[in-house]
Symmetry: C2
Subunit: 233 residues, 2 copies
DNA sequence: TCAAAAGTGTTGCATCTACACCCATGG
DNA sequence: CCATGGGTGTAGATGCAACACTTTTGA
């Protein structure tokens, strides 16, 4: 990380990075170990102070690249959080102090929303801030600052745009069966679809292509694989 | 306005304030007169540097209140703009200098989106920055900084959410005829609806109430008035 | 041959679209 | 009595929801 002179001390960019694994929606969190400066373990969203020479989008890309070493990941700004008393509790202030940011100073966060295919994601990389790990959306612990609220808003945004913006395919593997796709939508939207109606619906979408491949090695009828190909213009 | 010590010098809040009049969508712009410090007239969105003690929402409310002296107006944050070279052209830098903000410094803008009923709005108030005036959306001149881009994004946001979020009624007068409502949607969404189908549709919406009142004094059959009453919970 | 998931159609109901004429008023 | 915009219904097409059995594979 560059030194403080190049940073806006009160403006940070944080990312809610979603992945889908074990039939669950997961979020990438950073776990900061306890130390002499601040007692408890803390969980937070990946983020950093904004570098003066970066655009907001570039800052978010850098955060993402530092964690996953991937580029070209789906990334979108979704909201900016800035209540004056965001940085209020003691543990948060201790951490700000320990990490040489300005304690007691209000932090304004431009929040981004990223979608990654977990099977492409190499878990070897570590943040400078601490260990990173996938956490199922409904097992998220208390996070620093107002990060829980940020995750909540990102989650709402994901659900609201999952179908219309076709962003679900950023989370799914390249090839998937229709049963996987159905279960994916059902999990994230918390609904149930009728199997036949779901398939009828999907097959009427031009951007889902049937492949000449089937899943192998299962003790039942093999499922046909499909892939996502966005429509031109 | 408070003095500079209380402000974040690089973080501003700007508002795109929409109104509907003369069958057109309008935006409230500020016109700054030419002076010895900067030559041309300039048009800009109402906005201000963020006060350290305000939340983002409060800052937007203040900007709005200073212009319209109204509270309780529909207001929503919609995007944050922050490319490093936003403040690049000469006239913009001259104005920044003249208005004692920091020249050459990047400005990050949290943009808000407001909807007002123009007939409630008293045009007597003036900004400290200059004259304010309603400008039809398709007659907007070149604005300072990237404000044209901000208006464009706000406009897209309005169209995308006009129906689902029922926000159109924030722009319309309390009482309206179905023909007015139809023409309003058609103007903003740039579509055409069939009159009978439109009315059938509207009448199936629970939040539109028929009044016992009619328009008077027109040289044709008087139109029934309707009003908007959001559904409970 | 059994277990387990894949795959497949039809029917009724609700919703959307297209379309043309009479009504109430002021001038 | 005329001009002007207000107001109304029906029929066909399309889209959505409900529902159960056969197929293919590995063990």
């Amino acid at each position: 990380m560059s030194n403080l002179e190049n940073k806006y001390t009160n403006l940070s960019v944080d990312c809610v990075i979603f992945g889908y694994r074990n039939e669950q929606l997961n979020v990438l969190l950073i776990k900061r170990k306890g130390s002499e400066n601040f007692s408890k373990e803390q969980y937070a969203l990946p983020g950093d102070l904004l570098d003066k020479k970066d655009s907001l989008d570039e800052a978010a890309e850098k955060i993402l690249f530092n964690l996953t070493h991937f580029k070209g990941i789906y990334l979108e700004q979704f909201y900016t959080f800035g209540a004056p008393r965001r940085v209020s509790n003691k543990a948060d202030r201790e951490w700000l102090k320990a990490s040489r940011k300005i304690p007691g100073e209000r932090v304004i966060t431009v929040a981004y929303f990223a979608l990654v295919k977990v099977e492409d994601y190499s878990a070897d990389y570590r943040s400078n801030d601490g260990e990173i790990s996938w956490t199922p959306i409904n097992e998220i612990p208390q996070l620093t600052f107002d990060h829980n609220q940020i995750v909540e808003k990102a989650h709402a945004y994901l659900r609201a745009n999952l179908i219309d913006k076709q962003i679900g395919f950023e989370l799914l593997p390249e090839k998937f069966t229709l049963s996987e796709l159905q279960s994916f939508y059902e999990t994230i939207l918390n609904v149930a679809y009728d199997k036949r109606n779901f398939r009828k619906n999907i097959k009427s979408q031009t951007f889902i292509k049937k492949l000449d491949e089937k899943v192998e090695g299962q003790a039942h009828r093999p499922a046909r694989l499909y892939t996502y190909e966005p429509d031109k213009q």
